[in-house]
Point group: C2
Chain length 330, copies 2
């Protein structure tokens, strides 16, 4: 360990900046080696603002945060999670949410802060967060699934994140359930995330309204007003159609997770993200289906777990883990 | 490098024993660092012979082979590929073809030869063979698919074979095409290998005989007499039904390979094994389907290649690569 990074009582004085860049705002925070988020903040990203301005604002805010809330701590690196971010190139490419065509994130940060910078997509960052600080501590082979608007995934094999040949591995949300199935935003049909995600759950509610005669308060709700939270609340009140929607979602997710197990043989699969907050409503049917569809040698071996990051600042912790991991401090 | 392993002209004198244990016979050979199989042989495995006798015979034959055909060479290790072999435990477990319930292969070999021993399944061995000596030289992320009686697979990510949490990763043949599909020997329905393998191809011929009115010489052939080679020969003569069977097989394989790409983002997928010898009959429709089903960011990037091991002694070369890889000679 370098000299000068321990205080008088021997504690590591280093912190990293973890940043989660979303379509409307970027959350950031200072994360120590133990996975505590010491302080956090947010700045807007959106509305076509040029990336140079955004990264300048981000670095200014980060510097201010360290000086005000973590005096004496040493900034050792910056980890960034964002959709379409590429670990190998350090870039964010063709990000429709941000209106950015191509951004060299490492160069942008490098103009303002002289520390190592790493970027990857948000699901990969979540996987590293779970490995360093959460439910996957001590595991060398596991998968993290993020259930949000879409379905993201990060795969760890032999103790390392799988980035693939050009940095884009881990798109389980775009494996195909049914080549004649639901139209996906990616231009194909039947992608897993059209069934299993907040959006997929709402689409399933529409399918069940059409195909079944199940009673439901959701028959009074337009698709535009429907949210996964509303389906979850209805299910919590025992709404038969909402419960059937979670069952259907879990069955499809379990089928494709069984396929994922047949690829990389993980010790556990960890469900994170907004929709995973529905807890056993989604975990139980997914677990039942996964066991049913698993190749026999894998049965009763693969744990299906909720996130171990506590639900707050999880994306910031994941981005922080990305750079801690690169700094070699596991 | 250890002393005493180079001859006067500086050439590495070490060889390894590569062994491929099949249901009826075991092929073996001495493989040098450059991937040349210097000499080879075979002994029977089958008919419930106790494993102790088999491994004694194998080691005697290997010792004889080295003395007769490779005098002066040093045996540096033994690599073994076999169905149901586990890299972590060094065992072969519940192998119905061999009639063996549980064999500690490392201990069995250790009774006769004092060299490092590694075991893994045949598809993983094939992947290491392609990485060290064949079509995947220089690649860090790729998948090998073996198309034989069944469909095996070996996945390499970040330059290392993916064994998974308990040594059984890489069973792409048992990912599910259709949960209501063809019955598989594993007890489930719709596994990829029931469609894409020598057996799967023959089953598809029966489906097409049933579902279509395509003319075919194969309508005169019973299922029991049908082989993938016969379908391939008929296709070579322009038989419409045989050609349709390869198209169907390639379409299903391409669909599931697109899923595999979405997991691990490989640089290439390499098709090996007996049925891959059909060449473009299977490669072309698989490539077309894979591109059609690929998530857009992967399109036109993933190579689909035939084996680069030359077609002879490929399993022995793979098993040899397994132990060379463990000896740290890449």
């Amino acid at each position: 360990m370098e000299s000068g990074i321990l205080n008088r009582s021997g504690a590591d004085q280093r912190v990293v900046l973890g940043v989660d860049i979303g379509g409307t705002s970027a959350e950031f925070g200072l994360v120590d080696r133990g996975g505590s988020c010491l302080c956090s903040g947010a700045i807007p990203t959106g509305a076509g603002r040029p990336p140079g301005t955004f990264f300048e604002n981000l670095c200014t805010a980060a510097r201010w945060l360290r000086e005000e809330s973590a005096p004496g701590r040493i900034l050792a690196g910056v980890g960034i999670g964002a959709a379409n971010a590429n670990f190998y190139t350090g870039t964010i490419e063709r990000s429709p949410n941000l209106g950015w065509d191509y951004v060299d994130v490492r160069a942008e940060i490098g103009r303002h802060l002289e520390v190592p910078v790493a970027v990857t997509n948000d699901a990969n960052a979540a996987a590293l967060g779970e490995m360093m600080f959460g439910a996957a501590r001590g595991m060398r082979d596991f998968i993290v699934i993020t259930l949000g608007t879409g379905l993201g995934s990060g795969i760890v094999a032999n103790g390392s994140l799988v980035y693939g040949a050009d940095g884009f591995a881990g798109e389980i949300g775009h494996t195909i359930v049914d080549p004649a199935g639901r139209v996906c935003a990616c231009g194909r049909r039947g992608c897993l995330e059209t069934y299993c995600s907040a959006t997929g759950l709402c689409r399933t509610v529409q399918e069940l309204i059409c195909d079944t005669t199940l009673e439901s308060e959701l028959r009074s709700c337009s698709y535009r007003d429907l949210t996964a939270r509303r389906v979850s609340e209805a299910a919590g009140r025992g709404d038969p159609l909402a419960l059937a929607a979670f069952e259907s979602c879990g069955d499809t997710l379990g089928l494709k997770l069984a396929d994922a197990v047949a690829h990389v043989g993980p010790e556990a699969i960890i469900l994170c993200g907004g929709m995973a907050a529905a807890g056993d409503l989604i975990l139980r049917p997914t677990r039942v289906a996964m066991e049913k569809y698993l190749f026999p040698i894998y049965r009763d071996k693969v744990k299906l777990l909720p996130s171990g990051l506590g639900g707050t600042n999880t994306a910031v912790l994941g981005a922080g883990a990305l750079i801690w991991n690169m700094l070699g401090e596991t």
